[in-house]
Structure formats: structure tokens, C-alpha cells
Amino acid sequence: MNDYSYDNQTVKGFILSSLFWGVVGILIGIWISIQMWNPSWNIPPYFTFGRLRVVHTNGLAFGLGLGAIFGIFYYITMRLTKRPLLFPRLARFHLYLFNVAIALAALSLLAGMNQSLEYAELEWPLDIGVVILWVIFAINILGTIIKRREEQMYISLWFIIASVVAVAVLYIVNNLSVPAGLFKSYSIYAGINSANVQWWYGHNAVGFVFTTPILAMFYYFLPKSTGLPLYSHRLSIIAFWSLVFAYLWTGAHHLVYTPLPDWIQTLAIVFSMFLIAPSWGSVVNGYYTVAADWSKMRTNYLTKFFIFGITFYGLQTVQGPTQALRVVSQLIHYTDWVPGHVHMGTMGWVTMIVAASMYYIIPKIYNTEIYSVRVANTHFYLVLIGQLIYSVTMWITGIQQGALWKAVNPDGTLKYTFVETLVRNYPFWKLRTIGGIIFAIGMVFFIYNILMTIRKGKSLSASVA
């Protein structure tokens, strides 16, 4: 037993903030998906596709994603180090600053302020805010780990440390720029250097926001919620070190068949393929862990979130490396295949594991049970179906698009005009919107369940007091 007062309020604050930005981001996702087949849904100047798309990606990667990561990392770190946070008040300040930053980010993007670097769109004053935010977070997490009261470091802590360190380096390097006024700046990189640095950043944003933090959650909450111990400690450690080693070399796979020097492209392809091994190290470890008792898939409602989540991670980490290969890249690059890849990862892996972690944490904080397992199951099947519709439709239309673009007449001219290839997307884009709506309804069930659990928890603690 311990009688520390863990800072559960900050954790909960981050979780609720994350859900709030998640709702905003998902609604905008549906909106932009409609704009793609019905342009009258554009409302210039603020609500056009170009502006809303960045609010969608930033809102979900940084609002939903980072919000969840901040809160859940604080939660896990306190438990694994067996001590309260080093600076609880600073963490609370971090929560407020985070919400202010995301709100300003969304407004500035709607206003059209944009560095034109994907996932690094925010202009320099906000970049400074983000760096301060991250330093606060890093001091608290790393400080708490250094001052830990449990000597052994469980694998989740390694993934946490890697995420904290890597994002700091990536963000600062890619955002170096010369300000030209308060709302405008010019990147210090130009031409092919700019492209190379941008995708080194862009891919590792995927790696250290959508992969390593989610693995930290997976490794912690899978044993916690199933009661099954992790199959192999050694496998998890080797998978960790080889993953972080390889990830940072792979960014150029976004620039296959560009003027980037051939050897850099080749090197990135090699490391991308290698990534299958460390990624599947975690997948296999998850499967073997639950293989100790597969009946948990039926008896414990959270198990399936983790097993399906890690399965989509496994598929994602075979599909991704394959996309890096030249033969595949020349077909699918620039097509709708890529959003299909993206959303299997974000909807099937990231939000699945994040939701499961929240399902675990919220009842724990209130010392109660989840409001309704049935609602959780409904949530699960809806987001699963929504995600599958999204990914599968985009893969089909992406391959079709690529094939039409590549088709040539005997004299070497293109067989299809661009517009001819575009209109063939329409039925698939409409289906995607339906998939998105199903996914969003699933998320409504999820949020309802969380809020009802909080309500139940509050009335419980009131009746005890």
C-alpha cells in the first residue's frame, strides 16, 4: 500500500482535454472528407479544405494524441517509479498551457498562418510555445524517472524516455527559421535539404508520437488490464533499441524517386524494411502474452482492444516498409492509398490503444468499475468497422488511381487525363465519409462511457465521504 497523493486530477484533465480535441478533429475529418466529393462544403476563407485539413491533422496528432500522451505518461511514470511527480504544480501548469497552445494553433491555422511544412505548420511564436511546453514535460518526466523509488525500469519507461527526447530534437531542428514579422517566417533550409529535413521530421513524428508512446501504453496496460505478465522482457528490450536505432534513418522513404541523392533513398528503404523486425517484436510479444490465456479475449473486454490494436500495428508496419520499396512507391505514392495507410494506423492502432488505456485509468482513478461493458463493446465494433471501411476503400481507389496515371498509349502519351482519374475516386470518397461517420459514432459511445464512469465515480466518493 502507498499513501502518496498521486496527481490524478492533472491526468484526468489531460484525458478530458484530449477527448475534447479529438471530437473537434474527428468532426473536421468528416467535414474535409465531404469537401473532397462536394466542393460546396467549402466556406471561404476560413473553412476551405486547405485550412481545415491542417486543423484536422494538428488537432488529432497534437490535440488528441499529445493530450493523451501527456496525461497517460504522467499516470504510468508515477506508477512505475513508485513516487509522485517531481513537480505536480508544474504539471498542472503544463495542462493549461497545452490547451491554450492547441486553441491558438487551431485559430492560427484557420487564419491561414502556415509554415507549409507538414505536421510543422505552426508559425514561430507558437513553435516557441510548443518548445516551452515540451521542456516542462521533459523536466517533469525525466526528473521523476531519475528520482525513482523503484530501481528496475520496466520497458514502458524506455519508450517514454525515447519519445520525450526524440520529439524535442526533431521539432527544434525542423522548425529552425528566420522570422519575417510576427506571423511569418522562412525556413533555414531550402530545396532538397528542406525536403530531406522535413521528412526526417515528418516520419519520426509518426515514429515518436504515433508509435513509441503508444507502445509504452501497450506494454503497461496490457499486463495491467489482463493480469497476464509480459511474455519476454528480453524481446521487448531488443525490439526497443533496434526500433529507435532504425527509425531515425527512414524519413527519405517519403521522397522515393525525387532529386534526393539515390544513396539516401536506398539507405532509407533498407532501414524501413528492417523496421519490420523490431515492430513485430512487440506484436509477437503481445500475442504470446495473451496466448497464456486466450479466454481473456472473451472474459476481459479490454483484451480485444489491445489485440486488435497491436494487429493493426503489425499490418501497418508491414505495409509501411512495403510502401518504401521503389516498385510499390511508384504505384501508390501521391494516391489515396496513403491516407488509407495513415488511418489504419491512427484509427486502428493509435486511437484503439489510447481509448483502452483511458478505459483502464478512469475507473482506477475513481476506484470504481467502467460504467458499461456493453457500451464499450459497441464502441469497439463501430470504430473497427469505420476504420476498415476507410482503409479498404482508399487502398482500392489508390491502386486504381496509380494504375490509371501510369497507363500509356503505344506512342507514349498518357491514356487518361487527370480529371478522368479523379472522378473515379468519387464513389470511394463517399464511402469513406460513411466509414468516418461510423467511426465517429463509435467514439461518441466511448466518450459517453467515460463521462458516465466519472459521474458514477464522483457520486461514489461523495457517498463515502
Partner: protein, 63 residues
């Protein structure tokens, strides 16, 4: 809010008997990809294997 909670039992997080196992299929994958990577790197780096994007393009146009 002050609440009492059991400490995590770090020992219980990891299975004892299988703690150091590395599945053989996974090891084959791991080393196989490294070997594949070395070969591919030499074949597709202009300075070593002679292949280049530019040459491949010319060949495809002349076909």
C-alpha cells in the same frame, strides 16, 4: 483528491520462465532483414552497384 492505491508489483509485469526467450522465427526475420539490407544497399547505390534512378529512367523511356 487523496487516495490509497496498491503499488504496482513490477515483478508481476514480466513472466519469469519466458523472460529471456527470443522466438526463433523472429530471430530469422531480424537477421534476414539485416542481410537483405546489406545486399540491397550495395545493389542500389550508384557508387557500388551501378544502378541509378537516372539510368533506370532512361531505360524505361527507351523501351
Amino acid at each position: 483528491m487523496r487516495m490509497v492505491e496498491d503499488f504496482d508489483d513490477i515483478e508481476a509485469f514480466e513472466a519469469k520462465e519466458t523472460r529471456d526467450r527470443l522466438p526463433i522465427g523472429w530471430l530469422i526475420l531480424f537477421w534476414g532483414l539485416i542481410i537483405w539490407g546489406v545486399i540491397y544497399f550495395f545493389l542500389y547505390t550508384p557508387q557500388f552497384g551501378g544502378w541509378s534512378q537516372e539510368k533506370a529512367y532512361q531505360e524505361s523511356v527507351n523501351k
